[in-house]
């Protein structure tokens, strides 16, 4: 095929942005919540894998995809709370502990996930936005998973919550200036632990999306750095939930470039296209970070801005 069908390519990119971007959205919302409290959880990468495994396992055992999502969220929340509690101890580095959590989470998921590599668990339902069209490609591209809409709703909720509710203000205060929060009678360690647990819950749900919808089965190569890219994505999004949504879609689109090109018949350089999201993340970080200067919107207590 000499000529590339651009409409197919664009459609595939749009569909891919949503399909690949949804887990990014959940993990980045989780990381945004955690970082608003002044801590970084690199362990979301490990939590994502645990969420994918436990979500798939529970969905298979109970035959209900939604119970799987709930289980994935709870497993993620538990690991997040673990990170929160241990990092509340003096002298424990949150970044280093996140790395340890990646190792532990991957180990746990691979250990307990061995039994679930073969069987087929139920998938999450999607909403057919393209039912009006006769073109099968359009229909498959516009079949959007329910979790994406939940993610968008959560984004709006977090945007409003962080701005206008007492809880949101307390979280931001703890993240910006823990001493003031303490002076007002709040307990920064507790608030941060709760925020990290909440972030873990969201990352777990993102993992469940991976195993229960797209790519849609549990295997050990399922997650490849999405959790870590989410940390970079939150920096790019300047700690704003709404920006997280756009950034997640952008990253999703970059991850969809390889498959989209394959759809129109270009298959060389597969690995290089698969590495696009990493390169994009690096580029975005390089362009958006500034040395010796705190980024606008960055929580003041974040160890990223030492």
């Amino acid at each position: 095929m000499a000529e590339i069908d651009y409409s197919v390519l664009l459609l595939a990119l749009l569909a891919g942005a949503i399909r690949v971007g949804t887990p990014f959205l959940f993990v980045s919302l989780g990381e945004c919540l955690t970082e608003k409290g002044g801590r970084i959880n690199l362990g979301l990468e490990g939590i994502l894998v645990v969420g994918a495994m436990s979500g798939y396992a529970v969905a298979y055992l109970t035959d209900s995809a939604w119970l799987g999502v709930l289980a994935a969220g709870c497993a993620g929340g538990a690991l997040g709370a673990f990170h929160g509690v241990i990092c509340s101890l003096p002298r424990v580095n949150d970044i280093a502990f996140g790395i340890a959590l990646i190792l532990l989470g991957t180990g746990l998921a691979f250990f307990f996930g061995k039994a679930f590599i073969q069987p087929q668990a139920p998938s999450l339902p999607s909403i057919e936005l393209g039912a009006w069209s006769d073109d099968a490609r359009v229909r498959s591209a516009l079949s959007v998973n329910v979790l994406f809409f939940i993610g968008v709703a959560l984004t709006l909720l977090m945007h409003w919550g962080l701005r206008a509710t007492r809880w949101g203000l307390v979280l931001r205060l703890v993240g910006d200036h823990a001493q003031s929060a303490r002076a007002l009678g709040y307990r920064p360690a507790l608030v941060r632990t709760l925020a990290t647990a909440g972030g873990g819950f969201l990352a777990g749900v993102g993992g469940a999306y991976l195993s229960l919808y797209y790519p849609g089965s549990w295997n050990e190569g399922l997650s490849s750095g999405q959790g870590l890219m989410a940390v970079a994505l939150v920096i790019f999004a300047r700690w704003q939930p709404l920006n997280c949504l756009w950034a997640a879609l952008l990253f999703g689109a970059s991850g969809a470039v390889g498959p989209a090109l394959q759809a129109v018949g270009i298959s060389s350089g597969y690995y290089l296209f698969a590495a696009m999201p990493y390169a994009l993340t690096l580029l975005v970080m390089y362009l958006s970070c500034r040395p010796n200067q705190t980024l606008s919107g960055a929580p003041g207590e974040l160890s990223l801005n030492r």
Partner: protein
């Protein structure tokens, strides 16, 4: 305090105290892992015996252990050296595979040379490649403030993709059918074993020597002292006029060069060509080794051998007890978590250490100072 402790014992206590968090971390890990096995109805003592047997029980186990320890020492340095300057670099895996690839293609692109010269050329290529790759993370951090932990890991993912692309594409040996590889290394250039009765390649010696050199660098040289000032307090370092950016970059390049060298030995002594088997997780385990050794190059030698042993015992656990190979991954994860969590004790340890050192001087002085 009314208990009388002889000064010598007090001094000994003060000396041994820094090891306390590590000892407690290992003890907790063993306990938690035993509970984990017990809960899965796996015979705990038998598993423990198997781990020991698979790691250090026979000459064969020792060979297997040391074979894994050699690259671990070098990838651990990739974490430990930048850590002296206050950086957390976790992208050693990428530096290792690209270093291995550079070493594998060097003999193809150079004219025939005596083996020793070729080894120098291969090592230089691998170290330059690894040093460049990790140096990139350090450069981006100093230049633009890009967080080096995330940056180095992203670079590592990119390195793996580039490696796979080259090995399965432009640099692939057409003769390698079901296992895409670069052209095999001529026999004359492959690195041999230390002795015919002990099958461990020279990479182990290289690892130990490089760790010893790193120890001299960080503990007994002016540059090493400058690294720790940068790592301890950047503002102070800038104030006394240290070239902070250059020092950070040097630690990154040296660390990356060590990881690249590990890749060279994996290619020249184990695999015989660059292929996907290079991506074996040595970079990741190296992070754990460095943290367990608290970034002390001499301690890295010991920790690498211990962790190499744990990883070597994985296949025995799999065969005898039917445990998945992820079991050692869990053990490593629990150990890592404990090592960091017990770090919380370090503040107290410092306090106790001063206390016991005071008591170690003269009994009277100790009593007066802490009355």
């Amino acid at each position: 305090m009314s208990i009388r402790i002889p000064p010598v014992a007090a001094r000994g206590l003060a000396l041994g105290l820094p090891a306390l968090p590590t000892v407690l971390a290992v003890a907790t890990t063993v306990l938690l892992f035993s509970v984990f096995l017990w809960a899965r109805e796996i015979p705990v003592l038998e598993a423990g015996a198997l781990i020991y047997q698979g790691a250090f029980g026979s000459t064969f186990s020792w060979e297997n252990t040391l074979l894994r320890a050699a690259p671990l020492m070098l990838t651990a340095l990739c974490v430990a050296l930048p850590a002296r300057a206050g950086l957390i670099i976790i992208g050693g895996e990428g530096a290792l595979v690209l270093g291995g690839l550079a070493a594998a293609v060097t003999p193809l692109w150079l004219p025939a040379l005596p083996a020793s010269l070729m080894w120098v050329a291969m090592a230089a290529a691998a170290m330059a490649m690894g040093g460049f790759w990790i140096g990139l993370s350090g450069w981006m951090r100093q230049r633009r403030g890009v967080n080096e932990t995330i940056g180095s890991l992203l670079l590592s993912y990119i390195a793996l993709a580039v490696f796979r692309h080259l090995v399965e594409g432009p640099l692939r040996d057409p003769a390698s059918l079901n296992k895409p590889s670069t052209a095999p290394l001529p026999d004359a250039y492959s690195v041999g074993v230390i002795s015919d009765t002990f099958y461990v390649h020279w990479g182990l010696v290289a690892g130990v020597v490089v760790c010893a050199l790193a120890h001299v660098l960080v503990r007994h040289s002016v540059s090493g002292f400058a690294f720790s000032i940068v790592g301890g307090n950047v503002r102070a370092a800038r104030m006394i006029g240290l070239p902070v950016n250059r020092l950070v970059l040097v630690t990154c390049v040296l660390g990356g060069a060590a990881a690249g060298l590990a890749g060279m030995f994996e290619v020249a002594a184990v695999q015989g060509s660059a292929n996907a088997a290079l991506i074996a997780g040595y970079g990741t385990s190296g992070i754990l080794v460095a943290f367990a050794a608290r970034h002390n190059p001499l301690a890295i030698i010991v920790c690498a051998i211990l962790l190499g042993g744990v990883e070597a015992s994985g296949s025995l656990l799999q065969r005898r007890l039917g445990l998945p190979d992820a079991t050692t991954l869990i053990l490593e994860g629990v150990l890592f978590v404990n090592l960091l969590a017990w770090e919380a004790l370090n503040g107290r340890v410092l306090h106790w250490r001063i206390h016991w050192r005071e008591r170690g001087r003269t009994p009277a002085e100790g009593v007066v100072q802490h009355g």
